[in-house]
């Protein structure tokens, strides 16, 4: 592991709120050009871990070392107050002034160029999600933190956006910390998986995690089957190329 490539490093990090641990003992690295995915059931501390990595939570246990300031963040929940008149275009330059060409590129990539002058409050959930993603990537960040970035997006869009995320990680060579419920995506697009349940219950390559017994207990047999399918596909990648490429 080349330490120069590390963008953010969590050492035994945890966060406690009102005397209750939201997550504890998380150690992970996000490196340039790699996608690290957090999986786990509801309330397992995925978003908390992301917020620790981003430095949103201040009084944490353990430590977090961040080696970049060029960060793009797609939060899981975002409540925008409609006392603000805000168009998509205004939202795109919220944290950084971005050239108009770059704004257009990002909006086109996520398929919402036509919404540029619309009021943010009039967007549907899926449209808003695409705008959030466009905003995060238009900054050309070194570190992208995506907390369920495709929630509410239609099925076809979901696949396209995950392909986009994978492409961004390659073209920008940025590190991505992804939170996703979609195990298919996790297993195909991810370099490293961290399975959380209040603590790290297992981590490693997607296949390693899939074989882990704790993982099977958490996600059930069905999840293991999904994974074994993928394992199978990987085994036979050369003979059934067309079908697999779709992932």
């Amino acid at each position: 592991m080349n330490s120069q490539n590390i963008l953010v490093k969590l050492n035994n990090a945890g966060f406690r709120q009102n005397g209750k641990w939201l997550v504890e003992g998380v150690s992970l690295n996000v490196e340039k050009g790699k996608i690290v995915t957090l999986i786990g059931p509801n309330g397992s501390g995925k978003s908390t871990t992301a917020k620790i990595a981003l430095g949103i939570y201040k009084n944490i246990e353990g430590s977090v070392e961040k080696y970049t300031n060029k960060v793009g963040y797609v939060p899981q929940k975002i409540s925008i107050d409609w006392t603000l008149p805000l168009r998509v275009n205004d939202f795109m330059v919220l944290t950084e002034n971005i050239k108009d060409d770059d704004i257009n590129d990002a909006l086109s990539l996520t398929g919402v160029m036509h919404l540029k002058n619309k009021n943010l409050g009039n967007l549907s959930g899926g449209e808003f999600q695409r705008v959030l993603l466009a905003r995060a990537i238009s900054k050309k960040p070194e570190l992208l933190v995506l907390d369920e970035p495709v929630q509410g997006v239609d099925y076809a869009g979901e696949i396209a956006l995950y392909e986009l995320i994978k492409k961004i990680s390659d073209t920008l060579n940025c590190g991505i910390l992804l939170i996703s419920h979609d195990l298919h995506t996790v297993m195909t697009a991810t370099d490293h998986v961290v399975c959380l349940n209040g603590h790290v219950c297992c981590s490693g390559s997607p296949i390693d995690v899939a074989k882990n017994n704790e993982y099977k207990t958490l996600f059930g047999e069905q999840a293991s089957q999904i994974l074994s399918v993928y394992e199978h596909k990987h085994d036979h990648e050369h003979s059934h190329e067309g079908e697999i490429k779709k992932n």
């Binding site: 975002i78 168009r87 950084e96």
Partner: protein
């Protein structure tokens, strides 16, 4: 009709409107109208301090308002009382303490009405200097913290995650609020300053689809309120502060009645 005092009031009022316009937008966006009220109420205490210790009024009001803001932040951290209860506590107790202190200062004659509602005749050249130089500093600082302040108004976590330091911006904004109250108290009066912050911004919200437009319309609305209010106060012999606020209210009602019409009115 154009007496000297009137020109002075006009120049002072325009200076105030230029500052309250952009600041007022943030007051509306961040839901700080009651906070502004609290700082304004505490200004009375600031004025009495100025008389007691022979200080500059604007400076004294600024210091007291800043202290009240700091106390509020501490109380929020240390008690379980809701924010509005704390604001009410501070607003009325600082107003009451101010009034009690006035009672002790028997050697000075106070124009209480002037303090509460502003006094057009009280504006002198020094006040204009205070308003315009203080106002310029406030606007420059607001411009400097615009990005983090606005981003954290939209979403705190996004601003924090992407390295904008929203806490610092918020603290600086609190000081700016104290400063704008300090420079405008003589003109508008402590009961009506918040109106000057909120009403033009609220009017602007009705006719804007972007933050920058809202700031622009808020400034224009504030300027029109000052000009219309002062002319009518001269015409009808009403006090200046309330007249300005009534003018702002009329503009707000127009923005409700017919959006297009009120845009025309402004251009």
């Amino acid at each position: 009709m154009f007496d000297d005092f009137f020109i002075r009031a006009l120049v002072a009022g325009i200076g105030i409107a230029l500052v309250t316009g952009p600041l007022g937008c943030f007051v509306v966006w961040r839901r700080l109208s009651y906070f502004g009220d609290t700082l304004a109420h505490s200004a009375l205490l600031g004025v009495t301090m100025a008389y007691s210790f022979d200080l500059n009024i604007a400076l004294s009001v600024f210091l007291i308002s800043s202290v009240i803001a700091l106390i509020l932040i501490q109380l929020q951290k240390k008690t379980n009382l809701p924010g509005d209860a704390l604001l009410g506590l501070l607003a009325h107790s600082s107003l009451a303490v101010g009034l009690v202190v006035i009672g002790f200062l028997t050697f000075i004659r106070f124009d209480i009405m002037g303090l509460l509602f502003g006094d057009i005749l009280a504006v002198n050249t020094n006040d204009i200097l205070t308003i315009w130089s203080g106002g310029a500093i406030i606007l420059i600082v607001l411009k400097l913290i615009w990005k983090p302040l606005f981003a954290s108004t939209v979403n705190y976590e996004l601003a924090e995650a992407e390295g904008l330091n929203p806490d610092r911006a918020k603290a600086i904004f609190t000081i700016l609020m104290a400063a704008v109250i300090a420079i405008s108290i003589k003109m508008v009066g402590l009961l009506l300053i918040t109106g000057m912050l909120i009403i033009p911004a609220a009017m602007a919200r009705n006719i804007s689809d972007s933050p920058h437009k809202m700031v622009l319309f808020s400034v224009i609305g504030g300027l029109l309120s000052v000009i219309l209010g002062l002319f009518s106060s001269l015409e009808f012999n009403t006090s200046s502060g309330p007249s300005i606020i009534v003018a702002a209210l009329i503009l707000f009602i127009l923005s409700l009645l017919n959006i297009k019409q009120s845009i025309k009115l402004k251009n």
